[in-house]
Subunit: 256 residues, 2 copies
């Protein structure tokens, strides 16, 4: 499939055979955590930390130390027993496994409030996810630059996506438009979709979809509120202490 898009492999570092078998076997849940480890490690590297133990890293990432070691073992044995891990080495190996050695061009569809936020979000370009295309149907928006990129009309999606080698499509449209947009992205050869619309997308097997559903997140929180309130009422009716955990309350807040 990559071969369809001209010189797709220019910047890709091919995986070694041993890595390929490993990559196939990495549990989905572990992949998500590896991304978290990567961020923590990058932060450490920026602060000049060169070595780290599984215990330290696991605490910073908010997970069990044993789980962290198992997760890292999925990508190989790059630690030194009795010492720990070299931060730089770990960073580069996780980046390689996650496919971050290649840039992944991102297209955002639906330039409303959320689309604006995504287009302006600084976190993507710096980490290998440059936003290269924006789409909408509103005539007033077409051609207007948002975050430095002019908005294209949704009807040009196939041509633009192919031209700019878009590999990830982000759907930030209202729910009724989501499936249609999804179909167009798939037609344009996009195989990875991040969906913010509260809709269950139907896609072919060869397309990977990830969903971010704010309402669902809220409702899960709501469930826990209800469960706790109920437990509290039935257990003793007493007031549960609410105080903080001793962490300092000092910081400033800066607008994104």
């Amino acid at each position: 499939m990559a071969s369809q898009r001209g010189e797709g492999e220019t910047t890709t570092t091919p995986l070694e055979p041993a890595d390929r078998e490993r990559a196939r076997a990495i549990p989905e849940a572990a992949v998500a955590r590896l991304a978290v480890y990567l961020r923590v490690l990058s932060g450490m590297a920026d602060q000049g930390v060169t070595a780290v133990s599984s215990e330290e890293l696991s605490q910073a990432a908010g997970v069990n130390a044993a789980k962290l070691r198992k997760d890292l073992s999925y990508i190989g044995s790059y630690g030194t027993r009795g010492v720990g891990y070299d931060v730089e080495v770990l960073v580069s190996h996780i980046e390689r496994i996650l496919g971050l050695t290649r840039n992944h061009s991102v297209a955002v569809v639906g330039i409303g409030n959320l689309g604006h936020a995504l287009a302006n979000y600084g976190g993507f370009p710096g980490r290998g996810f440059p936003v290269t295309a924006l789409f909408d149907v509103d005539p007033d928006l077409i051609g207007v630059p948002v975050g430095g990129i002019p908005v294209s009309h949704i009807d040009d999606i196939t041509a633009v996506c192919l031209e700019r080698e878009v590999s990830i499509g982000v759907i930030a449209t209202p729910p009724p438009a989501a499936q249609s947009v999804c179909d167009r992205l798939v037609s344009a050869g996009v195989q990875c979709i991040l969906n913010f619309a509260p809709v269950v997308l139907q896609v072919p097997d060869n397309v990977e979809v990830r969903k971010v559903d704010l309402a669902v997140e809220m409702q899960i929180l709501s469930f826990h509120v209800a469960r706790r309130a109920d437990e509290a009422v039935h257990n003793s009716g007493g007031g549960v202490s609410v105080g903080n955990n001793g962490l300092g309350v000092d910081g400033m807040v800066i607008r994104p």
Copy 2:
């Protein structure tokens, strides 16, 4: 703990003892899916559908029919064998289990691009999650109404949250401010936090945190791109067909 906040239970429907034991036993994964079922069912109800079978509902929700029935069985037996489920009945029971019979007041901290998007997002108020407070540090923003609500200063967070009975705090600040904001929310008695900042928050045990991490989502997609590209290269180098799944490509796109 609810008893601490005056007349907290005014609109709450207390759970029956049988439901309480059930609620305790519902797997986390099932809770997330129940929220999805609820949305699908609500959409059906709006279109006048009154009854639905597990097969239909599961397809619309994108899950296995058996799994759907098991999920529903966690909240009770409200179907009719040989017929299916009554949409209204199912909606009301899921809402009750998820704690949606009570309104959950939401506070958004960090009124940048994302904060604006959240404050204006129409999906919350309609479904029992009214945004009642906004916070930032930027003097130019304080007092300015966003989505109909004036922005308060972060220093007033405790008073405002208590006054408006905020039960869910949303963190949409830059990473460096997230932990500090989190601590303040916790001090203000907020026990549920939805975190958009790419930071691992440290909280006491009695606080529930859910994380939405765009960079992590992107990197998971990147992993799958890399894995597939690699498989394709090593399997045969051939081009995988990309065509759509026969779904119509007809819709319009409207800006949120």
